[in-house]
Amino acid sequence: MAAISLLNPKAEVARAAQALSVNISAAKGIQDVMKTNLGPRGTMKMLVSGAGDIKITKDGNVLLHEMQIQHPTASLIARASTAQDDMTGDGTTSTVLVIGELLKQADSYIADGLHPRLITEGFDKARAKTLEVLESIKIPIEINKEGLLDVATTSLRTKVHHNLADVLADVCVEAILAIRRDDKPVDLHMVELMEMQHKTATDTQLVKGLVMDHGARHPDMPKRLENAYILTCNVSMEYEKSEVNSGFFYKTAEEREKLVAAEREFIEQRVKKVIELKKKLCTGNGKNFVVINQKGIDPMSLDMLAKEGIMALRRAKRRNMERLALACGGIALNHFDDIQESQLGFAGLVYEHVLGENKYTFVEECKNPQSVTILMKGPNKHTLTQIKDAVRDGLRACNNAIEDKALIPGAGAFEITAYKALTAFKDTVKGKSRLGVAAYAEALLVIPKVLATNSGFDAQDTIVKLQEESRLSDVPVGLDLASGEPIIPKDNGIFDNYIVKKQIINSCSVIASNLLLVDEIMRAGMSSLKG
């Protein structure tokens, strides 16, 4: 009898073999759901809610978020996979598949009487060896457009249609290269992602500047300005009541208006300072002036600015303040006390685009922009969501490649190579833990197998072909999904991120080992305050 049941007779307990089988079946279950989505030939899933809301995706992470996972083991695996996404932005489906397969392989050995502890020891040795293999096959890259384009394309093709993937990969790489400075780490927040429900997905483009989802709120303000100074600031230009102890019992509308006028004076001074500067800088030289404020600007201030031909935007995103400074120079001001030309940014073109009730303001033709915008277009909301998820992953893939300064051959090549290395390594391992190594090697093959199945080829046939080819070849061999024949991924430009694979190897081994070593599952909770 489990010890807990002495203490809490209501606890539900599953023990030893039963506990293991619960875990394994959960892992298999979640694996089955995700299996069909792996790789560029995997199927899309369209999730339709009861009210008709649609979500289309192929991204393992998105799917895991959408599915309500109730089983504790499955949600543990799902969490590992989400962690994978948080770390690297890719490889979520692979994580789920590998964990499931590791448990499946281990299961057959355990059924033969092998103790789970020995298997996990084997897993641990195999993991160390696999990491060695990973180090040995990584390909150092130059950080330039060609180098990054391949990995971005590979990652994106597993998420959206080929044509779109190529467009997006190009956009992502350009964006990353634009904001990257020397050897400093890239801050992905400096790429703004803007959605526009308009045209089609392949019209998605990179804007070397900033796009904001709001416009000037005054009918007389210019809609298009060339050669414009950009003043970014965080200074309130709206009347706000400052007195604290009002008291509504004895205030007439007239008295109130008087008070307002006095208070407004203060705000007006601020606006006048901006106008003064504009007059000083832009008279007679064809230059213009744009104010972008994080705080509010009320109609009276807008009116004053409009009269001077100044375009003014209010309530800009906090993050856009930083982006604007990077895109067109200048600094975000917190007061107008000592306002100078050197604090302003500059853009060649600022214009407004209206779409239904939404306005967009484009700040373009910046000199040397260090912050850019990816303008995502699509005919409807779910297409936009899909593009957004894909673009995020594409950017991460590029960024990973920059940080690793290396790539791994894709198309299952790494798994095949690791399998070959592990089978050789197995013979050098003493004792029963070598069976764990064997199980690990088999489990890795799940990736090429599923890739083959999803493309309509026989898994066994393909694996045999690949293994033969791999034995003869010195360079890693992968699977051509179009023909089902072995190829050299490096020559075909199919690459994966180093960090993604490394993370998969580490997290899968740990989670699988943990699940294998569980010999008791119980559900107990406090059901009363006395108990």
């Binding site: 369209m46 339709v48 309500q68 779109l164 019992f249 995103k317 239904g356 009363s528």
Partner: protein
């Protein structure tokens, strides 16, 4: 006078029930005929925005962001109906070359009421809305902007496995990247389009994790929109499913849930004191945090306390009435004035009361009605709080009593002429006079609107038979075929020493809880010291209400 816009935020399922009723009664009260003799006294632009769809159709939707859990919308699509037509998944054109696996949940049919809204021309089928209300979208008449509805995908509505009932869990959810960024951006877009934005109204479920979510959001708002007022309305549902237990086991569970709800409530009040400009807890239940607490009863109202559909309607009618104060066309009274006036000495917690319907006899006059009135005018709807009658700052709103119901014309006045109140010429004046005589050492302010509260369908039929079609009390029973169309209603907001007792009893109840026993809180990041600090702060807050410090 310029419109000074307000943005409303709703957090939680019960808040959305109240909110849905609220938007419904407002929209049923819209006057589309602009050249009538008495145009609406209410400036709807304060709460509503005009928009345009991509097809250039004009829309008029609430300035509102609401949040609920996955699965709580039932037949309502997240994007709403106005902007994007629903997509048929079977005719969908995919931009993917291989097949698309469709995972379709069972389609949820709309109830008869929703179908009727969609096709008003079709012959009406008899149905009972009461029975078909399960979630708030079932009786929602208002239509929302696509960005209004936010769904939390991590937690399923009414899930036993992963309930959303721990305050710090809500706080954590706010901190997740995608939620905060997305939500903050929606707030920003809403505020950006307002010319004279004045502040926020926040409706929140105070005793589950939504409280935590709302409080974190409020902290953010304080930080990002300083100088804007925040009027918070913590709501406490009248009833929970676990109240109707049958076994001893279930009864114990309900007790545990009660204690957790109490902890959440306390943590929530604690943050409200800090971040809100003024807050008014609302509930139709007497105590607010005990299974055994008695539901409040109201004159001429038969409602089922266990029905959220009913109890939320009562709260919504109060809400719609006392917010009139700052959204009438002829007023320059702002939300910040409202907050300042109701919170003397930093007493941010305020009590609300209601008289629904304001019982005026058919053909009777206000002057007689007040003359014969016994007891307080209104009845508290703030849980565990009585109103008291002296040393109050109070704000009354009466709607639905017209100028012709004030007093008899002098030619036929008869006995009324002898009453001192007869010299009052407006409703405001007369009520103020009444209040000056009945409430000792108090400051009262009265607002009145002649048009009553619209209680047509989908408002529940909760009035008893003595309430007539126009809401006045009739001598004989109402014809059963007739339903009540509108009612007069009076609400009050009161700040006085009695509220201190509410805080004190909350403090005492929380003090008796051993927080260490609730390991869920510890694992969600709430430390024991924090809890004790919260208790200490509530205790300090209580002292603000002691009258010996003032007057």
């Amino acid at each position: 006078m310029n419109t000074r816009e307000i943005l409303t935020l709703q957090f939680g399922h019960y808040s959305n029930f109240v909110g849905s009723h609220w938007w419904n009664v407002q929209e049923l009260g819209f006057e589309y005929n602009t050249n009538t003799d008495n145009p609406s006294e209410i400036n709807h632009d304060v709460f509503y925005r005009e928009g345009q769809t991509n097809k250039r159709e004009v829309t008029y939707t609430p300035r509102l962001l609401l949040t609920d859990l996955k699965g709580s919308l039932k037949s309502l699509p997240q994007q709403g109906y106005l902007y994007d037509p629903p997509v048929d998944p079977n005719k969908f054109e995919t931009c993917w070359h291989s097949e698309v696996a469709i995972e379709e949940e069972e389609k949820i049919a709309k109830n008869e009421y929703q179908k009727e809204i969609d096709n008003p021309a079709e012959p009406k089928i008899e149905y009972n809305l009461e029975d078909s209300v399960d979630v708030w979208s079932d009786f929602l008449y208002a239509r929302f902007h696509p960005r209004t509805v936010n769904v939390i995908n991590e937690y399923q509505h009414e899930s036993e496995e992963t309930p959303f009932n721990i305050f710090p869990v809500g706080q954590k959810l706010w901190e997740t990247d995608y939620f905060k960024e997305d939500y903050a951006d929606k707030i920003r877009s809403n505020v950006e389009e307002c010319d004279n934005f004045q502040g926020f109204q926040i409706l929140l479920d105070a005793n589950d994790a939504f409280g935590g979510l709302a409080m974190s959001c409020m902290e953010y708002i304080c930080d990002e929109y300083e100088n804007k007022s925040i009027f918070a309305l913590p709501l406490i549902p009248s009833y929970y499913k676990d109240y109707s237990y049958t076994t001893e086991e279930e009864s114990r569970k309900s007790g545990v849930n009660d204690q957790m709800r109490l902890i959440n409530l306390g943590l929530c009040y604690n943050m409200l004191i800090e971040n809100s400009s003024v807050f008014v807890p609302l509930s139709t239940s007497g105590v607010g945090w005990k299974t055994s607490s008695q539901p409040r009863s109201f004159n001429h109202v038969n409602y089922k306390p266990e029905s959220w559909y009913h109890s939320s309607a009562i709260l919504a009618s109060a809400l719609d009435t006392f917010t009139l104060k700052y959204r009438l066309k002829n007023t320059c009274y702002s939300l910040s004035d409202f907050a300042v006036d109701l919170t003397p000495y930093g007493r941010k917690a305020t009590a609300a009361s209601i008289c629904l319907p304001f019982s005026l006899n058919t053909g009777g006059y206000l002057i007689d009605c007040l003359d014969n009135w016994e007891g307080p005018l209104t009845q508290s709807i703030t849980p565990n709080c009585t109103i008291g009658s002296s040393r109050l700052m109070q704000l009354y709103t009466l709607r639905g009593v017209g100028a012709n119901q004030l007093k008899k014309p002098s030619s036929v006045a008869g006995k009324q002429l002898d009453m001192p109140a007869y010299r009052c010429n407006t409703i405001d004046e007369m009520l103020s006079m009444y209040l000056a005589y009945t409430c000792h050492a108090s400051a009262s302010n009265v607002t009145s609107v002649s048009k009553g509260l619209q209680v047509k369908k989908p408002f529940p039929d909760i009035f008893d038979k003595r309430v007539g079609r126009n809401g006045n009390i009739i001598a004989d029973d109402r014809n059963p075929d007739m339903s009540v169309q509108s009612v007069p209603i009076m609400t009050g907001l009161h700040s006085g020493s009695e509220i201190g007792n509410m805080i004190e009893s909350l403090h005492t109840a929380m003090n008796n809880i051993k927080i260490a026993r609730f390991q869920q809180y510890a694992s969600a990041g709430l430390e024991k010291d924090e809890y004790n600090e919260c208790l200490a702060k509530l205790f300090d807050f209580r002292e603000l209400y002691d009258d010996n410090y003032v007057l």
